[in-house]
Amino acid sequence: MTDEIFTLQGKPILIKRLTLRGWAELETLKQEMDEFVKSKEFDGYYKKLIKFIQVTSNVEDVDWDTVAWYDALNLYSLAITKNHPTIDFPVLTGSKEQSQKLPWEYTGRAWYFWLHLFASNYGWNETTIGEIDIDTAIGLYQEILLSEQLEKEWEWGLSEIAYPYNSSTKKQEYKAMPRPDWMLPMAPAQQPTIRIRKDMMPVGNIVNLSKPPKEKISGI
């Protein structure tokens, strides 16, 4: 992906696509901006927005107090678009449940999450992990989750939990392990045509009442 150029106060600003290390910092900035939105602090939100632009570009010596609001937002929007995954990964589709802040979450955790994920699964070092592209990171993350889910399903199938007792049928019936939303089957775009067997169709003469009855030929 080529770098984008934006002109601000007569100076060319180059927006870059960051690797995983930089992208983790952007995710932290986005979380901080969300916090400022909740507490309605315009100034704090704007400082983080400027920081977001500075991290993704070569911008220097700009008096941000004199930058027009639409220029600042356009630059921010460009930086977001540039550093967004280019592939529509199923794992990124939103969950129906609203995520609550977990006790172990903190500002800046994103980088350590990715570092731990790839170091423990592939044995890579910090430098290698920091240089991965965003699409590669998310694609590998999805594959890791998929492998973990399928392994858990295999272990689930071997345990008693998978066969709960049904008191109405008096039998143990298999209950599949729940899957996350992004792994559930998608509804087909077009419903399949269902053919009915001829011997299951209604029997007897079919009278078409929408047309008038044919006149009998005289003499017969």
Binding site: V37, K40, F42, D43, T66, V67, A68, W69, Y70
Partner: protein, 94 residues
């Protein structure tokens, strides 16, 4: 007095005042002048002073009412008010 193009924090403060009374649906068919008169009809005195000082600077307090209205309307047009309200709603600070 020349109205100014606002930076981001000031633009959001302006949008916060205006969106109390208007949204993009209600203003999309209006001209700048129509909107200006409707706006100053609904704002209270403090809000008028806030809008005027954002768009015209500190000198707005010594201006005549008609100058304030005309200067502010010019400032709202300069700052692409429709896009500003949309941006404010998308940012989500309410």
């Amino acid at each position: 007095m020349v109205s100014k193009i606002l930076n981001f924090p000031d633009a959001m403060k302006l949008a916060q005042i205006i969106t109390k009374y208007f949204d993009t649906e209600s203003i999309k068919e209006m001209t700048g002048e129509e909107f200006g008169y409707k706006l100053f009809d609904v704002l209270d005195q403090d809000e008028i002073l806030q809008v005027a000082s954002l768009l015209l600077g500190d000198e707005a307090t010594s201006m005549k009412p008609r100058e304030i209205i005309v200067g502010s309307v010019e400032g709202l047009v300069k700052n692409n008010l429709f896009d500003l309200i949309q941006a404010y709603q998308e940012v989500g600070i309410k």
